[in-house]
Symmetry: D2
């Protein structure tokens, strides 16, 4: 325990010294203004202890990290029928590519690329108005993190709604294949809002803890998903969680994780801990440059890689 | 231990009852004649104990499973410079697709699709004649498996040379981008021969043991690669080892593994065991249908998935 | 002249006997209900004489034939600057494909595929409200055909607005590349309305006459475009006017032409005549099956092919 | 007649003054050494009169212009069955792209891209050794041009054989789909040799005359193909003759034509003349930059565009 605190401090110090900090996402105006100097890290072990450093209590836009939570929620609603709507293979393409959608009749490759998460949002809308579905997602994330203060940043949601042409294209394209049950505007209302969830590293590490602990949140004593489902969500994060940089993340870090263009990454060391990092600058695949590096250090120093002994 | 023997026996019995056995690869004439009723399984734990059932001592063509061995050998020769020649991302395409090669200037996505393994073969040829490089590979696999009886099936090698037009296309295409240092015929000589290695499940489980044991072969007491490299090869197998079915294999089985169109799969449970299965019928992605299923049972019953607790 | 009337009568009779009539477009509900038995043909020679047969005076939805008129109008407004917005190469893809748009940064290949006509509609919107732009297009087509009775079928326009998800996807996708100046809804308002123009073969053959007569409409005595521009629009129709069946149409018919999914085709025999045909059933490329065949007969019997002597 | 001589002189003078001359093809070593200052033009009218200027009697490598001759020869051998082997649509891709081949099961889009001409070469090999097929092609081109001095430049043929990896890839790829009846080496032997035909503008304009004169060579009095076939070959040249610049060539020049990376273009004004130009520098689509420009001037000044009045 003592060591983990020293480790996160070390990592924070080393990251602070980096001058190459990647490129802050600029296609969502509200994200473009975030200071790239931020860095936060929070580790919550399966016994519930927290180790934090840097800006671990500063809120940021979790963006695509939210896709793990909506996937979990949708699996809870429709179970394996979800896989009729979305695949579970790495895409081999950019996060917002539309090419594969055309070649594969509008079925997204996996729930962690934009098109896939849009399909998941459509599932969450069944029988609901967009506001209700959004409310449900917020309640679920609060439940996971055991923290009722988590909210959606409406400025970010609005900013994305106004400029998210590519996501509108993806949704309309899927609709043209009969792959969405609801109007694109509704589906994207849900999508843009859950992407706009504002959370701190500390909150995010809490929210991911159930995936490190066999589906059960040790802090709250509540079971979220079965052991098997936790395992399978981790597998999806490993193969698809970092868009077209998933292979590299697995190679260098060796932990299931999900990134967002806000610069956050939530990673899971099964049986050990849930980890959240945040550094706003991105690499060429749209993943946090220094966040990935921080997790690489973390995995190396702890030996938590799932691929080693 | 007792339990593992019972488990492999169970698996063998259950697989024997399956009538849907997939489709034996028919694009290599020598493979098309193999009886789909075969099934073998061999588990070698990191303490060196073996548990086998079915046709565990019948030789089969390991085909693309060999790509793990040539990758290991090439990394030993040129280290991380290998990544200038080949990427490490899932392809999102069929094992023999050429589309991505054109879009990405002839650089293969990873060492486990055909184009990538051809690039690796080109690396292994540096300073050698094809025969020497092939000899080197055979010696290396014998060393890994601690078994000097392992040989190449020359009929299969010849059959592939005569009909492997697609692989010739891939090699010539890469050559047109300046991505190969040697003539396509030489590179494919090496490639077709290492794919034609004939091994039993027992031998294959021995050969993969170093990946389960941190780079060290406990049976022979020899170190093959560093702990870190073993981890990283496992990561590559997890994200890219089953072509465009890698995500599904990770989801269902949760173990790093590499398949071949001969119906073999070598899988690794880090810290636990190396597992080899063989069932000649393939699924639509070119991976052994029942071999995958056997490993899914194995992972479920042992709890060896790397994604769980 | 006498011969031409006999010829269109012959063609009408022969077409009437065909039982294989293609497949009426079903993705726009209002088009799906059109009777496939219809056939009309109208030839207007450059001296202004008309030869008609069959349902030459029955209105149908001209759909993409309208793209010739909006292209002409846009060239009149912005001249060669239009080519910064859209290319002039055959696409080698389906009329509604989005793949090439992603590979070519959102710039459509030519003004006759959907994406290209959407870009043209965006040009026509400059400084206008959608209603004004639509009014302008209707006035222009009336001027070309010298017929003030031509109107837009509002049912078709509405039907397309409600179901044209694919076109929304194309527009939003182009917008994400900064390729549209106006909101997708406005641009598609213009697009769907001009596609919904209802015209008869007789009207359509009048409207195309300027392209057969060097840019000048001999019936009205008005100059529409320069001789050079008429020539270039004809060239575009020849290479791009039938989507991914343009090569085949050139091969079999040998006349510049533009088809629409309503089953209409407007063709031009430079120096000779403007021809309009209508048969609602489509071939696999989305062009009128029997309309193409009628034009093939026409070209063979008149020797009007631009490729022969 | 007098005017045509003045015109070719004018064109030659104007071209001579251009400093931007495009980029000489460098992927075939033997072509890379050609002086970009060369320019030749030859016009042969259907009455057999010649008008030449510049280097009209200097031999150059006709490269892909030869594809018109092999297409004509293959149509003579197998007629419309040829279209089972190759399509007749523009590709929308680069001349040597392999992507479409994968998406369309190895069937090339048209006979004027590399893959298509390789398929045609395979047809010409039926029942022949490569040498015989090559001999047949040479004899046919000599017959067309009425000139027995035309030969293949063996240095160029060898150069292409040694460096034509991309063409080997295309052939092997097609073979993997069962689209070639003969070994890639044989087919490419034929292909590389016919591309290496050395001809002058004067000879080339003779060889194309049958296409301008309804299938009949007025100089020799011999019929080469039917009137309909001449028309259809012209249509193919118009839509597919300049790779992914075919639309632009039709737009600017308005004549059927076929270009080669040696810098030659053969164009046809039906009923008027056959024209050959040569300027070694290429534009970005692999077509002669100044050759295209010369033909644009030619078409403008003569009014020979097939799209005008």
């Amino acid at each position: 325990m003592h060591d983990l605190q020293a480790l996160v401090n070390d990592i924070q110090r080393e990251i602070a010294n980096h001058s190459k900090r990647g490129k802050v996402a600029d296609y969502i105006p509200q994200l473009a203004v975030v200071d790239p100097a931020h860095f936060g890290i929070a580790v919550t072990t399966v016994d519930g202890t927290e180790y934090v450093a840097g800006d671990a209590d500063v809120s940021f836009s979790i963006q695509s990290v939210s896709k793990v939570f909506t996937l979990t929620l949708a699996l809870g609603m429709v179970g394996d029928r979800l896989w009729n709507r979305v695949g579970r293979e790495p895409s081999g393409s950019a996060f917002n590519s539309i090419v594969q959608l055309e070649l594969e009749n509008g079925k997204p490759r996996n729930p962690f690329i934009n098109a896939g998460a849009i399909a998941v949002a459509d599932v969450l809308l069944a029988g609901h108005q967009p506001k209700e579905a959004i409310g449900e997602i917020v309640r679920f994330v609060r439940f996971l993190a055991d923290d009722d203060s988590i909210v959606i940043d409406e400025h970010v949601a609005r900013s994305e709604t106004e400029t998210g042409f590519r996501n509108f294209a993806l949704a309309q394209f899927m609709r043209s294949f009969g792959r969405l049950d609801h109007p694109a505007e509704h589906v994207l209302g849900v999508y843009f809002h859950h992407c706009a969830l504002a959370m701190t590293c500390r909150q995010l590490s809490h929210a991911g803890l159930f995936l490190a602990a066999g589906g059960h949140n040790p802090s709250t004593g509540r079971t979220v998903v079965s052991r098997g489902r936790a395992r399978r969500i981790n597998a999806l994060m490993l193969t698809c969680g970092h868009y077209d940089g998933s292979g590299d993340f697995a190679y260098r870090v060796g932990l299931p994780g999900k990134s967002g263009v806000g610069g956050g990454i939530m990673a899971v060391a099964p049986g050990k801990a849930s980890i959240a990092v945040w550094s706003p600058g991105l690499n060429e695949n749209g993943n946090s440059l220094l966040g990935s590096y921080a997790l690489e250090m973390m995995a190396q120093r702890t030996g938590w890689s799932i691929f080693g002994v």
